[in-house]
Symmetry: C2
């Protein structure tokens, strides 16, 4: 393996591919990035076996002799980042010992032979869905934060992607709140899968511009093709819970309020509260909307929302202020509407105008 | 206690005073800030018993009723930071329960009675030294980083301030490297004290503009008066080691080099090395200067310094790259001069022109 490459091009590709690499992988070879120099380009692969990212660099590279090696992700990224020259030369010296030259620096880095690297199948198979990258990014950002951190119910650690009836619906829940985002599909595609949150976060990061994304759905895995990058993710086994009972068709009471004012109120009201719970209470009637919290030990906070508009019978409801903040941020609109059907019933947060992002927060019993 | 105050003025004072507060203080009352409202201003005090900071706010405050209370540093800072109004009102409601009002927010914060707060003596006593704040800041920044993190020899965890012969000399060493900075004194002042690193870092942070600083040195403590702030620090007991043998009068070999080039070379050469040691080797002769490192497991690096100018017999010397980086950064000059007297002798790093900052690095035996 011998080639010269433009430093910034390699750095950009390595930065993205390395995002799949876990430095704590139980399989040591997976802490590295596979360099596979072919006659027409350099294929870079990173993987932690849950998610794998591959790209092929074909421009700004001078290929002298094909070959392959696995280089430590941690070291090769730092070397390419810090070398002070526009072009970097790579050459395998002996076995897997690789010389990396640039500017006044010369590195001899111990690699691992490429045949130790597991075979990863990036074949384009299964059900194909073509999507717009901006919509995919929106669906991920509006849902993935609401997944569960708790591994005891693995299905809740991912986002349910459900295509049916010309609609793609994404749902995430940690059983205390739920996020549901949807988008119409032009074709009649059907699948129902659960994608791990980590994979989605990386996919969202790789999306930088508006373009088409090809998504190939198989039984056990899903492949995203975004520009020059292929991202392969395992799917989470199991059935996603039926969450439809959490969203009613009809709500009795509603409040509309500026997102900034509500976020500010939550921020201040949770200042003195237990960080794990972030419990706040909304006390609402048509004349006044008040957010309060109380910590026996530290003190209490009372926050007026003079510009909130509430319609309905007087209502007191307690819940996690953090979950409401997350919901408002994901809606990303000047005003939000909260819809209630009782002090112990889940309530909804959504945009005033649109229904393509519905956030649900479950109340907390305070007595 | 009852007063109204401009939010930004209080926030600025609290931010600085709170820097003395340790949230893990064994004495719970010291996790708070003492508010002492007098007829002519609000005195704020924070302390962790090693360092105490006090200021008096006299402007932008409307004093309604004097009094005092201790409020949790963590909560009161956040409250004042996040309240959305220009003016904040404080009032003790009952005992130490304090109401804090601003904008649409009302906080009831449980305080601690002020009589539980230890008495801290900020009296101006002892030997007085008047210094320029910029020079004091320079002396601190050029030395404090070289103190020891290891508590087994407490005297090395502070900086030795030694005034004699119309000169103030500051010395810090962790026994692997040494930093010595000095400045002439206009008066004949004599003292020899060791100030904890943490206190010096806070003093350096409080200095924001060029002004006079009064320093009162006593047996067990030192008081710095900087603008409206008083900073009181305990001194470290014991005798600072005699470090004069580490600095020779004469060196046989010298290298001059651009600081940026040398920092870049160290940065790259230590990329593959053990983070705890950061061992690098300089191989120097009048024709070539080379920096290398070698890690059995990971690989090796060779870095040319084509523009370094070396005068002397060929020399190989190994040392911590991090210590040399720290030394170069503290000198803060375009070029540095390194002076050597042998492969196992301490070497010196300094400015090409000036002698008021001398950095010493001890070599490491590599065989």
């Amino acid at each position: 393996m011998k080639f010269n490459i433009k430093r910034t091009v390699l750095l950009n590709a390595l930065s993205r591919v390395s995002r799949a690499v876990s430095l704590k992988s139980p399989l040591p070879v997976l802490t590295g990035i596979k360099f596979d120099l072919q006659t027409d380009g350099l294929v870079l692969t990173g993987s932690d076996s849950d998610i794998s990212i591959q790209t092929k660099v074909t421009d700004d590279i001078e290929i002298i002799e094909t070959g392959s090696v696995v280089l430590s992700s941690k070291y090769i990224l730092e070397i390419v980042r810090k070398i002070a020259s526009d072009t970097i030369s790579f050459e395998i010296l002996d076995g897997a010992l690789t010389r990396i030259d640039g500017g006044s620096s010369q590195f001899n880095l111990n690699g691992t032979p490429a045949f130790d690297y597991p075979r990863i199948d990036f074949a384009k198979k299964g059900t194909l869905l073509q999507a717009d990258s901006a919509i995919l990014k929106r669906l991920i950002e509006e849902t993935s934060f609401a997944t569960s951190e708790n591994e005891t119910r693995p299905v809740l650690t991912g986002v349910n992607f459900h295509a049916a009836n010309n609609q793609l619906t994404c749902i995430a829940t940690d059983s205390y709140r739920l996020a549901q985002a949807s988008s119409p599909l032009s074709e009649e595609t059907v699948f129902n899968i659960i994608i791990p949150k980590k994979s989605l976060v990386e996919i969202s990061r790789i999306i930088e511009k508006d373009e088409n994304v090809d998504i190939y759905v198989e039984d056990k895995k899903v492949l995203f093709i975004i520009d020059d990058y292929m991202v392969l993710s395992r799917l989470i086994d199991g059935t996603f819970p039926d969450t439809s009972r959490l969203i009613s068709d009809y709500y009795d009471f509603e409040m509309t309020v500026s997102s900034t004012a509500l976020l500010g109120a939550i921020d201040r009201t949770t200042l003195l509260s237990d960080e794990a719970k972030n419990l706040v209470t909304l006390t609402m009637n048509p004349d006044r909307v008040l957010m309060t919290s109380n910590s026996q030990e530290v003190g209490s906070v009372e926050e007026d929302l003079p510009k909130a508009f509430y319609k309905g019978d007087p209502l007191n409801i307690s819940f996690s202020g953090k979950y409401l903040s997350d919901a408002i941020r994901s809606i990303n609109s000047d005003k939000v509407k909260l819809e209630f059907s009782g002090p112990m019933r889940p309530f909804i947060v959504k945009d005033l105008e649109k229904d393509d992002n519905i956030q649900v927060v479950l109340p907390v019993r305070t007595y």
